[in-house]
Structure formats: C-alpha cells, structure tokens
Symmetry: C2
C-alpha cells in the first residue's frame, strides 16, 4: 500500500514551493530549548502582544448572543461598514462599504484577488525580496511570478520605473507591499499613484499589500486606496490589530470586480469565521485603538533601539524600516552565507533570526530578517549575545 501510495502523482506546482526557512529555524530553536537553552526569538512574523481585551470581550459576548452560522461570503455588513469608516477616520479616504470583502485572513484576500485577475500564463510583477507566499498564490493559480530584484537604491521597493522595464505583454498585475515584509520600507504615495497609473494605462491591476498598515513609526501610513478606485488593497486584522490566530483580513476591490470576488469566495471559502467577524467589530473602538497605539509606540521604541545596535555590530541597514516589525539587515560584512550564519547565531548565541532565502533570490546570502517581536530587554540580550559570538569567532 505504502509503495503504491508513494507512486501517487504530485502536482508540479509543489516543486516551486519551498518550505519556509523560518520554520526550520524555529524547529531548531525548539530543540535547543528542549535541551534547556534560552533562545531569543527574533525569527517569527507575529506580534508578541495578546489580542486586545476589548476584542476578546466582544468574542465572549458574541458567543453568548449570536448563532455561529455561515455569514455572507462578503462578510457581515456591520464589519464591512466599520472597515469603510476606518478608512475615512484614519486615512481620510472615502470608501464604499460595498467594495470591502471580509476574508479568512489576508491569505484569502490574496487568493481571491489573483483568482479574479489571472489566467494561466499571466505574469505578476513582485519585488524581490518579498513575502514568499505571494508568488506561491500566483503559482497555485497557474500564473507566473516575475520577481524584480530590488535593493537599497529603491529602498527595497518596486517602482514604476522598475515595473516598466520588467513589463511584458503577459503582465497582468503589479504588486507592492507597504510597509513591506521583510524590509519594513514603504512605497511613497506619489510612487503608488504612478504605479496605479501605469497599471491602468496597460489594462492591468495594481495590488497593494497593506497587511502592516498602521504599524508605522514616526509617520502615519497613507493608503493605496487613494491612488484610485481600481487599486486592489489587501489588509489584515493580524498585525496592527493583533488578531493573527483569528484568521481575518479584507480586500478592497474595484466595484467592477466585487461580484466576481463574491462568486469566487462563495465557492472557495463559503464565508470567513463568524465569531472572528463579530469580535473584529470591537477592533475599531476607541479603547482598542488606545491599546494598539500604545503598542505601536512600544514597537517604535524597539526599532529605535535595534537599528543602531545592529549597525554597531557590523550589520548594514541601508534602508531604515519605517513600518512592520522587521529589519532586513545586510550581513555581508560579517558572513558570505546568511543561511549558515543564521544557524550559527542560533546554535552558538541562542538568537533566532531568518536567513534571506525565505524572501527571494536577490542576494539572500547577504541578508537576514530580524523581527522585533520581543521587548527591548530581550533585544538588548540578543545584541549582547551576538556581540560576544562575533568577538569569539
């Protein structure tokens, strides 16, 4: 039986889906911890804060008062309206609630956006480095990710100039992430508008991943929704709202495509989790926002500590991150191989970081991603451990 099962076909798309290095690092870290070692976890892309209490309390209330039935595939109307209001209040942009599609995490929003846009062989322009799942969504739907190498010159972001150079007859989507995972850098509003215009002129779509929107330090993020009602904007309750395990996000879609997104969502997801939707209604309340803004200040303080500390160790930080909770550090002054380096830092110094390989093919050996999802005291500990490790080499 097992012999036969082993002969069962495996889809060729699986060849292009690598396991995440961050998972391997995490597994190795857990093994060290099982041996009694202390590890500072700077590898994980998840906030270290619990979901704010008002959201948890709203979940308790909904459990007692709401039947946990399927909802509309587009999400409950009250939540779609609350998200639209948030765009008005926070970003000063008027958005029709009818354009908001609540999704099972931003993962679902990405699959739906690509799903209504891409035919087999259609190309998607993506920055390299970027969040690896994005290209795997494209693959899964038969599209072709075109990774555009970016670096410090454009603050690790795709620009309209780079997109124009990489554009082909099959390009159907240009995608940016602002703030970006793994670099924490943003696309300036003027550049976003130029990218939207470029896509528009060519009958293509701009998708803006704003999953880390709200988590910016020293400035408030604008939204790509400003750049036109034809821009697809992806957002999430996971990061700023700190609701990772609730698996809730949204897609702001052009009015022309909402009905198609709805049909696809009905078929692929039925509806997002009902309880998460009711809980998320509390995410926009003043008492929740007060908690989130306090945590944002805390994250800003961590960034302000971490960037110069890394530089003092010999890491380069050519584009100081403006948002998210990552530093994409250039480790080429310390190693030729970020992959081996990350493992060595973990095993010898007890600090878990992610090698660049998870994020693409543009000089990953020169980069590591360091997540500041730990308090400053732990970041200090990590810096001292790495300092000792480097001195002892």
């Amino acid at each position: 039986m097992n012999d036969r099962a082993a002969r069962l076909h495996l889809a060729s798309r699986m060849d292009s889906i690598a396991a995440f290095e961050v998972m391997e690092i995490q597994t190795l870290a857990r093994e060290l911890e099982a041996q009694g070692r202390d590890v500072v976890h700077l590898e994980i892309g998840e906030p270290d804060f619990r979901t704010p209490a008002p959201i948890v309390e709203a979940a308790h209330r909904a459990l007692d008062s709401q039947p946990m039935n399927y909802t509309s595939a587009l999400g409950i109307p009250a939540l779609r309206e609350a998200i639209a209001r948030f765009y008005a209040v926070r970003c000063g942009v008027n958005v029709d609630p009818a354009r908001i599609v609540v999704t099972a995490g931003s993962s679902a929003a990405l699959l739906l956006a690509f799903g209504v846009l891409l035919d087999a062989g259609d190309e998607v322009l993506l920055a390299d480095p970027s969040y690896p799942c994005n290209r795997h969504f494209v693959h899964a739907l038969g599209g072709v990710p075109r990774l555009v190498p970016v670096g410090p010159r454009t603050r690790y972001q795709l620009t309209a100039d780079l997109a124009r150079d990489a554009w082909t007859a099959r390009t159907r989507v240009a995608m940016v992430a602002s703030p970006s995972n793994p670099t924490g850098t943003m696309v300036p509003p003027e550049e976003m508008a130029t990218l939207a215009q470029l896509a528009r002129e060519r009958g293509a779509a701009l998708i803006a991943d704003e999953i880390y929107h709200g988590l910016t330090y020293g400035l408030d993020a604008r939204t790509a929704a400003e750049a036109g009602e034809d821009v697809f904007v992806i957002n999430s309750f996971s990061k700023y709202f700190q609701m990772t395990g609730w698996r809730l996000g949204w897609l702001l879609a052009p009015a022309s495509h909402v009905r198609e997104v709805e049909k696809l969502a009905q078929n692929l997801y039925i509806s997002p989790a009902t309880l998460s939707q009711h809980a998320a209604l509390a995410a926009f309340r003043p008492e929740t926002i007060a908690i989130l803004e306090e945590r944002r200040r805390e994250l800003g303080a961590r960034r302000d500590f971490l960037v110069p500390a890394l530089q003092s160790l010999g890491f380069g930080v050519p584009a100081v991150p403006e948002g998210a909770f990552y530093v994409y550090a250039d480790c080429s002054g310390l190693t030729d191989d970020s992959f081996a380096f990350a493992r060595e830092v973990l095993v010898k110094a007890g600090v878990a970081i992610t090698p660049g390989r998870d994020f693409g093919f543009a000089a990953p050996e020169r980069h590591v991603r360091i997540a500041y999802t730990q308090p400053v005291a732990r970041l200090e500990e990590a810096i001292e451990r790495v300092r000792d490790f480097l001195a002892a080499r």
Copy 2:
C-alpha cells in the same frame, strides 16, 4: 476612473463559475419576508441547530486561557489526535494522527487535496449532480472537471464501472461524496474499495468527501479510510458537529503527501482559526456526542416524514436518502422546468427549495433539492402549502 476599471481584465476561470441559484432563491425569499410573507426555508444547506453548548463553553474557556496566535499549519496536535481517536472509536479504523491535517473548513481541505494532486489539464471525475464548489476548486487550479452523469440506477453515485468508462489518460483523481450533497445517498463500502483499487492501479487518487459523515439514518456510515491509506478523505466540523460558522474541517491524507499538504497549507492559509480548533476539542466529548446523536434522531424523523409526504404530492424519490439532510426529488411529474417551478413554489406557496441547476448538468430541470433543516411542524406546513399550490394550478 470607473470606465477604466471596468476594462480591467477578468480571469477566464470566472466564466465557468456560476452564482449559486440557492443564493438567488434566498434573496427572493428575504424580499418576500420583508413584505411580511412567511417563508419555510428548505433551500439552505446548514443545520438549524445551534453549536452544542459544550463546544461554546470550550470556546469561552480558550478565550480566557489561550493566546490567539497562529498554530501549526497542520493544526494543534491535541485536535489531530482527537480526530484520529474518533476514527478508532466511531469507525473502528486506526488512523495515524500524523495523517490528519486540520483545515479552515472542508473548503480548504478540498483546495489542498486538489492542489497537491493536479497539474494544469489533469482531469477529475465527479458525479453529476454533485456539490458545485468541487468542480470550481478543480477549475481554480487549472484542472478539468469531468462530470459523469448519474441517476437512480446507481443511486446518483459514481461507481467504479462508470469511472472506468469515463477514464482518460489525463484522469488524475476520482471523487465521490458519501453521503452526497444533493442526493443524500452513500457509496457502499465494497464500491468504495473498488474505486480505491481502480485509482490505485492507474496511479491516480480517490478523494472521498465525507462532510456529512455521521449524519446517516438507520445505519452508521463506514469511512473511505477503510479503503486504503492512499485515499484522501475530507471531513468537516460543520454538519454533524454543527459548527458551520467556525470554519473548521480536516483532510486525512496519505502519509506520502502530508509534508506537501503542509507546505501548501503554510502558503495558502498559514493556519486554521485558533479558537475554532480549541473549541472543537470539545466536539468529541460524550456530552457533546449525546446532543449530536439526539439531533441525528430528530433529522432521521424529519426524513421519515418528508420522503413519503413528497411522494404523496407527486414528487419522485427514486433513491431514498440515507444521510445528509437533503432529498433530491424528481419533479418531472409536476413540471418540465425545475427552475421556474422553484420560483413559483416560493412566490405562490412560500416554500423555498433549490432547483437542480446548482448541482450540474444531468437533468437539472427534472430535480429540486429539499433540505430538511426545519422541524417536522414546519415541514408539514410546507407540504400543505405545496399541496394547495399544486391543487390550485
């Protein structure tokens, strides 16, 4: 702007994804209700029972005690073990918990199974009629659904003989649903074994949709897991466990494919909803099962009322349903057009039913699906209304 956005490309896959008729029927029903009409809802594929109290209480406890972080993409170990134990206790089948992948509803389980199995152009054999989303998952991944017309002769199920006749060089998957939506019929264990053997011999996979497993009347359902460790089995917490809005299901995958399913799940979903997973741990407790078994008896009583009542009205029920909560009734003695008939029954008799068109292309005009997701008293009311409507025509 809107003119330009309207010119934005739409993926060709959307041409083959029809909106659900059941949604149109539901919308029309809500309009009638808004006018003060009473409608008996027999169109909806969702149990009318609330999630059992022990599951809701477990959710309250988890909200207070667990951080709502991402989990492993495969699900929390305790839940995977609980599901494996359920196979042992309920079905007498030993299943390695390592083969259980907890998913964001059975929707995610289906996408993952097809995702690791299908290349572009690969064919999937499906019964017609069947649950329409199944063919749309295949489409979304670039596969080709091959709908095999089935009828009363095979109790509306795909058989090994039918599969052999429809098999081509590109057939990669044969899929069955037992009990089936929309017909409520089951695949006998011997037939399931033959189907599994056929797939095995041809290097293909059998996928068994057991989403309605447990909801059978007069007999206990066997599981396709018996038919070999190379069978992909899909299940859900939605129907028997009555947790629709929690969006939780699972995939029992061959050991050879679990790692690939995990990689795809990490990329497409990250993880299933954390709270739903903790709540579902209570789904297997004796006090929950006692509630569910009481509700199963209630559903059985509804079926036992509804089938002869429909026959008394002139509907044919050539294959009496053994499970799920649907009757797929032959209305050809009453109408030539089930689509117009369903609308007329709704508008004139205030009874919402689903025309066959939602489930495929094999004589949909002769069939309607009637869901017994209402108490017997409401079913009686519906039958009397339809009787009066038919008499007055």
